[in-house]
């Protein structure tokens, strides 16, 4: 157990260097900003999760009996908006990416620390606008804002919600910009692109999407707001505008946005699997390039959300075939992760359990994506619960699983404390079971025909809905547990050694928690990424991991 002796005297680190509200709210330290993000996105996660639970409770019975129809519509709209724009998109990049990228590239901070702080403030302003919008009536357009419903028919607070997401978009853009510049300009000597952790590669790819995709949704929302306020006609068919143009512009961002959520998670998993297999990652260059390929191809497929919306048959064919192009690099990643396990020395630590969960659930999510990009099948399952199940497998089974795995993996580094391993393994198991129970029935529900966004439904769909609601309850427990034991560990957890997992990477060579400027002197990298063979040989005694 005792891999490193923990000094008795408390060392100075980024957490205990300064105290007081101002030292946090005016900090430019990427690690403190990451924690600010952690607190804020956790807040939004539980708001969004609360909405999800209400949705599932309403769907327990076929009749609309728990809430009003309008309330239900607001619940699923704001569940989507909060989870997508205020939790999933910032989750891994703004918390783990923010904390780890400077450490991983051997820099003292991100390239633009003040812009990093600005980005958090923009997020908070956007979040407060969203909360205000919810408290004063909410919005019921669906997170997709489809026109002309959003511009001419909804009588809820579309403008405020649109502006909130507009502002949140700039927060996301600035994060991506900061990452790209940091990765290009701040790498330690010797840290070539082929030695870069794949977590960093994944964030580089994510940033490309944030930089080039987000402005398009921003301008689209400006147009929606203008259309709604002034009735210009750009998206209003009554005035000669095309509602499908809105959908094109919306999905140009919102499809790649899925990759903003999943790519960082893939990055996390690519760190965890080699570490707990004690192996170099299988096919480093293919995993790295597949991240970039996903980011680029991700921009070519957006109209597969519109196969039944009334686009031309020709366009449908083009977008269907391109959709399969993006499936290839995703498949390559799954195969490489699996191959990394081969002949490894595998430890079942909590982060690894999350990584296993991720690979399994992402596989199912990805494969069901093939159904949806097949034109003939999409015609039937589009806008049904099949789609809901598919994207929750990607976003919750994939992105959120990766986020939790990453939180466990780096928690000792972030907090300087160890979480209770047994509880963490239990939570991973509960999440996996609860998740599948919640969302697998929805695949069947979708294929038998239950449309999404239905507040009441024909009675024959009840059994599957009850299963799903039951699963959601289990899932909720699975999500509450880590929050409880993470908080517990901050006070009562055992102090973490600097490198509890004997993991590779610069972030593990500094103390836990790191000092404000991370590195006392500029590190020089002379080794390849994931050199677990060298690490394990370096230890005289048996490699023993914490947990």
């Amino acid at each position: 157990m005792a891999t490193a002796t923990v000094p008795a005297v408390e060392r100075e680190d980024y957490l205990n260097k300064e105290y007081g509200i101002a030292s946090w709210l005016l900090t430019t330290d990427h690690k403190r900003i990451a924690l600010l993000y952690l607190i804020s996105i956790t807040f939004f996660f539980f708001i969004g999760g609360f909405f999800a639970l209400l949705i599932r409770l309403e769907l327990l019975t076929p009749a609309g009996d728990l809430v009003q129809a309008d309330t239900y519509n607001k619940l699923f709209t704001q569940h989507g908006q909060v989870m997508v724009f205020f939790f999933l998109i910032p989750s891994i990049p703004a918390v783990l990416g923010n904390f780890l990228i400077p450490l991983m590239v051997g820099a003292k901070d991100l390239a633009f620390p003040r812009i990093n702080l600005l980005s958090w403030y923009l997020y908070i302003i956007a979040g407060m606008m969203m909360v205000h919008c919810m408290l004063t009536g909410g919005v019921d357009t669906g997170w997709t804002f489809y026109t002309p419903f959003s511009t001419a028919f909804s009588n809820t607070k579309v403008i405020e919600a649109g502006l909130a997401i507009f502002v949140a978009g700039f927060s996301s853009i600035l994060t991506g910009l900061n990452f790209v510049v940091t990765i290009h300009r701040m790498r330690a000597p010797g840290l070539t692109w082929s030695r870069l952790p794949l977590f960093v590669w994944a964030h580089y790819a994510t940033s490309i999407i944030q930089i080039l995709g987000t402005p398009v949704i921003a301008i689209t929302l400006v147009l929606v707001v203008a259309e709604r306020a002034l009735h210009l006609g750009i998206f209003d068919p009554k005035l000669g505008g095309d509602p499908l143009l809105f959908q094109h512009l919306f999905w140009f961002y919102s499809h790649p946005a899925v990759y903003i959520m999943i790519l960082p998670s893939m990055g996390v998993v690519t760190e965890i699997i080699p570490c707990f297999s004690r192996k170099r990652v299988f096919g480093y260059i293919f995993v790295a390039l597949s991240s970039i390929a996903i980011a680029v191809f991700g921009f070519l497929v957006w109209a597969h959300h519109m196969f039944v919306a009334g686009i031309s048959v020709y366009a449908a064919l083009v977008f269907s075939i391109l959709s399969y192009a993006v499936a290839v690099p995703s498949a390559v990643k799954v195969f490489n992760w699996t191959a990394t396990l081969y002949k490894g020395s595998i430890h079942y630590s909590a982060p690894m359990l999350y990584a296993f969960g991720f690979v399994g659930l992402f596989t199912i999510g990805g494969l069901t994506g093939l159904f949806l990009s097949a034109l003939g099948v999409d015609m039937h399952v589009h806008d049904t619960y099949f789609v809901i199940a598919h994207f929750h497998y990607i976003m919750v089974g994939g992105a959120l699983m990766g986020y939790l795995g990453g939180m466990h993996f780096w928690w000792p580094k972030i907090s300087g404390r160890l979480y209770p391993e047994a509880w963490a393994r239990l939570a991973a198991l509960i999440v996996f079971i609860g998740f599948n129970l919640t969302f697998f029935p929805q695949f069947i529900l979708g294929y038998v025909g239950m449309p999404r966004r239905y507040y009441q439904y024909p009675p024959e769909y009840q059994v599957l809905n009850v299963l799903s609601t039951a699963g959601a309850t289990v899932l909720a427990v699975g999500y509450l547990l880590p929050m409880i034991y993470f908080l517990w560990s901050m006070r009562y957890g055992k102090p973490a050694p600097d490198n509890p997992w004997r993991a590779a990477g610069l972030e593990w060579m500094v103390q836990s928690p790191p000092t404000t400027f991370n590195f006392a002197e500029q590190p020089v990298v002379t080794w390849e990424a994931y050199n677990y063979d060298e690490i394990d040989k370096g230890y005289k005694e048996e490699p023993q991991l914490v947990g």
Partner: protein, 332 residues
């Protein structure tokens, strides 16, 4: 299985089998892939679990393997794409002689009107075995016409027509859902498709009609004064509409367009947009003067105008002798 626990939707249209076949293929394919990944994960995790004194064996990767699992999935994906495209194509090309039903979606109901004139709300009666083409538009927001047991879905977009079709194969009552979120009562915008045996259907049809849709269109055509310019000879100020439907039209600016439902619609509401060569843009717009239903009637009337030489009079769907044959029969 049980009444309240269906695992598979009914297969009640000619399209259902095609979609199911591809779906089952995909289920088997992805089931195998999932199994492969899960079994490898579990096997590797168990077989190579950490043991004292055993170090991991380092493998950097393998380019042939990478190429294999890039190229083979890509090949498989192309098969899925092609298969999906074929099914989609069938769904997007209604048979020529299909019976036509005009559908108007509004918050929160479906208004359906048979070419023969029967009007229905939230329900549609059709006979078994006949091709039915739905010409759909919305008078407010986007809706979507979804019949799970038929495996058809098409968004209904304001400002234009979208089209879908089906041929019911089994008598019964089937769900009709709106699947594009459309506001408060979105989940209440449901109805049913009642598929009847032909004899029962004829009995149902014989009641309640105010005459064919094209006849009310003809009446409007006269009332709105369309006939003064659109004469049935070549002397009118507007083009002769006899037999125009479905033809390719040469426009003033040299473009060619097919005279389909959307073209007729546009020409009534925005006459200046696509003027037929040889004519002046003198037609006034009827924007705001006709409702969606009246527009449908006008479109149905214009479509019914066959060239004078052709025998058999108006080609309403009722009079087409064998509307179950034709293009639709290849879809089995």
């Amino acid at each position: 299985m049980f009444d309240n626990f269906p695992l598979w939707p009914q297969r009640a249209s000619s399209m259902a089998g095609n979609v199911d076949a591809l779906f089952i293929f995909l289920v088997i394919l992805s089931g195998m892939m999932t199994l492969l990944i899960f079994v490898s994960l579990v096997y590797f995790a168990a077989r190579y679990r950490h043991r004292k004194g055993v170090l991991a064996e380092q493998i950097e990767g393998s380019t042939p393997l990478e190429l294999t699992w890039t190229i083979i999935p890509f090949g498989v994906f192309m098969v899925i794409f092609a298969w999906g495209a074929v099914v989609y194509f069938q769904q997007r090309t209604p048979p020529r002689d299909a019976t036509e039903v005009y559908v108007v979606g509004k918050q929160w109901m479906w208004k359906l009107e048979h070419a023969e004139g029967q009007r229905e709300i939230n329900s549609l009666h059709v006979p078994v075995g006949r091709d039915v083409k739905l010409i759909m538009t919305s008078q407010d927001v986007i809706h979507s016409f979804f019949v799970p047991d038929f495996r058809i879905k098409q968004d209904v977009v304001p400002g234009r027509y979208t089209v879908t079709w089906f041929r019911a194969t089994k008598a019964g009552t089937y769900h009709l859902f709106c699947t594009q979120y459309c506001g408060t009562q979105h989940s209440g915008m449901i109805g049913s498709i009642v598929v009847m045996e032909p004899a029962q259907y004829e009995a149902w049809m014989s009641g309640g009609s105010t005459g064919p849709l094209s006849a009310s269109g003809e009446k409007m055509f006269a009332e709105l004064g369309c006939a003064t310019c659109h004469r049935s000879d070549s002397q009118g100020r507007g083009p002769n509409l006899q037999g125009m439907f479905g033809k390719t039209v040469l426009l003033e600016d040299g473009r060619l367009v097919t005279a389909d439902e959307n073209y007729i619609r546009e020409s009534i509401l925005d006459p200046g947009a696509k003027v037929v060569r040889g004519f002046k843009p003198v037609m006034p717009t009827f924007q705001g003067l006709v409702s969606e239903e009246q527009l449908n009637a006008l479109v149905a009337y214009v479509k019914s105008l066959t060239p004078p030489s052709a025998p058999g009079g108006r080609n309403t769907a009722m009079s087409s002798p064998d509307s179950t044959s034709g293009q639709g029969s290849q879809v089995q």
